[in-house]
């Protein structure tokens, strides 16, 4: 049986100039759960997932994925191990069709098995409801659809760990609801690490919540536990921790 944790960080630290973006973050991610990483602006959330995914090199510390030390692996190798990553600022292939965008995401594993590749692409298109727009240029999609396309590109890779950096940013309420449904459906098949500002989304999706504040891991637990944590309240609301 696979270990309970899929990802672990030990002493993960990033210092930009003199600024400590992340300080000694020891973090464990449960397999097949949705974990939300929350925290005020500038808390170091994106830096943290950047170091996990390999986009940012840590100043010190280690990242373990499926028990393997991946700290020195470049980003593309980490993706090949089964991670997928969606960007905070939408990052798709604007000049290609919706279908080609997804086919490229699915194609790293499947490009040389044409029927499987086509089937996977079609499945993902159907799942996210973009089949009717598959021939449109990605650049012609609405902002909401572009965000969804980016998430679809993550899905198409069949990741064992899916990292989403603020996926609901800028989405309309109805789109957010669709996203929540999608995430819940995914929780059965993969592990999700979600950076999220929208507490409603966190409350509805996350099995676990981890709070970063000023680059340090402040608290972790269920949403209710974290919500009740006085240090977290202080960090968010500016209330002194012990009154």
């Amino acid at each position: 049986m696979a270990a309970v944790s899929i990802l672990e960080t030990k002493g993960l630290t990033k210092i930009y100039g003199g600024v400590h973006a992340n300080t000694d973050v020891d973090f464990t991610l449960q397999r097949n759960k949705i974990t939300a990483l929350i925290g005020p602006n500038g808390a170091g959330k994106s830096t943290f997932v950047g170091m996990v995914s390999g986009r940012t090199s840590p100043t010190r510390g280690h990242v373990y994925f499926e028990g393997q030390d991946i700290s020195s692996l470049p980003a593309h190798k980490r993706m090949q191990l089964g991670m997928a990553y969606t960007f905070q600022i939408t990052s798709i292939f604007p000049g290609l069709s919706v279908e080609d965008n997804i086919a490229l995401a699915a194609g790293r594993k499947l490009a040389h098995d044409k029927p499987a590749h086509a089937a996977k692409t079609e499945t993902v298109l159907n799942r996210i409801g973009l089949s009717a727009r598959k021939d449109q240029y990605a650049s012609d999609l609405s902002y909401g659809h572009q965000r969804i396309l980016e998430i679809a590109m993550g899905l198409a890779q069949d990741p064992t760990l899916f990292i989403l950096d603020e996926p609901t940013q800028g989405l309309a309420e109805s789109e957010v609801d669709a996203f929540v449904t999608l995430m819940r459906g995914l929780a059965q098949e993969t592990t999700i690490l979600l950076i999220e500002h929208n507490m409603r989304v966190v409350a509805k999706t996350a099995d676990h919540v981890a709070v970063l504040e000023q680059g340090r891991l402040l608290a972790a637990g269920t949403f209710a536990e974290v919500q009740a944590n006085s240090a977290v309240q202080a960090a968010y609301l500016g209330v002194p921790a012990h009154v």
């Binding site: 995914s53 593309h76 960007f87 990052s91 292939f93 604007p94 086919a103 490229l104 790293r108 086509a118």
Partner: protein, 314 residues
């Protein structure tokens, strides 16, 4: 998925037309088209890197010249027959592309342009420095006796045209196939959004190097073919304007299209050919045409056609 019937028909149609042109065109234009097809091979090589991968090299003249000198020096100094000499030219271009790419691909954007330009200038100066063998600027002639293949004299108009045609057809069809393959799609992904491609798990550095090597190999084929078919090897083909030409051809014809390189070379060739007939300032005419095309058809002739009417254009 896009059906490939139309693109295939288009590619074969173009080849049929090119073969037929030999029988209908007057001698002057037959000669012109021999040259156009060889230069279009060069443009095809450049297009893979620029049009499909999104990397602008300003040093492709070194790959063209490597093919040319690799072939020319092996026949002239080494006394080798056509086939091995040709292979040496192409391999030399590929090795040079690998070495230059290994170093230059550490840079991006403008820095990549400058670094490739510097490599090409160095190569040009090396050719001049070893003038004892290369005859420098003046160049040298590949003798007619050395330009025959399996007993066929390639200096005759017919043999020259069809040798150029066969080489062009091979490169054209291989490239059409390549850009539709998973490898080609990945190069387009890099052009469209390199960081996204990397975060999909693609080894972007390796793919770019492979694109550059293939691009260099094809440019080398063009260089070797030029020396073989036109019998002249000279340092001017390694100079900076021979790095700029393929860029102009590809921009005019349509970057990132399979037919763009050929269209661009034909257009530019006849633009200069016709305008030089009535003015000395023919480069002014060429420049003006470029400005107009950039303004009104920024994606080149084939690129604009694809955007406006023919989405299926490969």
């Amino acid at each position: 998925m896009m059906t490939s019937a139309k693109p295939n028909a288009l590619h074969l149609g173009i080849l049929v037309v090119l073969a037929a042109l030999f029988f209908v065109l007057p001698a002057y234009h037959v000669g012109a088209f021999s040259r156009i097809m060889v230069l279009a091979i060069y443009a095809i090589g450049f297009n893979l890197l620029f049009g499909y991968t999104g990397l602008l090299s300003l040093g492709h003249a070194m790959f063209f010249a490597a093919g040319m000198y690799g072939f020319g020096l092996s026949t002239n100094l080494g006394g080798l027959p056509v086939v091995p000499a040709f292979a040496i030219g192409v391999i030399a271009a590929g090795l040079l592309a690998f070495a230059a790419g290994y170093l230059a691909l550490r840079t991006v954007g403008v820095a990549f342009m400058i670094v490739t330009l510097m490599f090409a200038q160095t190569f040009y100066l090396v050719i001049l420095y070893f003038g004892e063998y290369t005859r420098g600027d003046e160049g040298f002639i590949v003798q007619q006796a050395q330009r025959s293949l399996f007993g066929v004299d390639l200096t005759s108009e017919t043999a020259r045209y069809f040798t150029a045609f066969v080489l062009f057809a091979i490169c054209f069809l291989v490239m059409a196939r390549l850009v539709q393959s998973p490898f080609g799609k990945r190069l387009v992904a890099i052009r469209e959004n390199e960081e996204r491609a990397r975060m999909l798990g693609y080894d972007v550095g390796r793919l770019k190097l492979m694109a550059l090597v293939v691009s260099g190999l094809i440019s080398g084929v063009a260089g070797a073919a030029y020396a073989l078919l036109f019998g002249y090897v000279g340092a001017s083909f390694a100079a900076v304007h021979y790095s700029i030409f393929p860029l102009l051809w590809v921009l005019l014809g349509g970057a990132g299209t399979t037919i763009g390189p050929l269209i661009g070379v034909i257009f530019m060739f006849y633009l200069i050919d016709v305008s030089s007939g009535f003015t000395n300032a023919y480069m002014l005419v060429a420049g003006l045409a470029l400005v107009l095309l950039t303004l009104f058809a920024p994606q080149g002739l084939a690129g604009t056609l694809r955007k406006r009417a023919l989405r299926w254009l490969p």
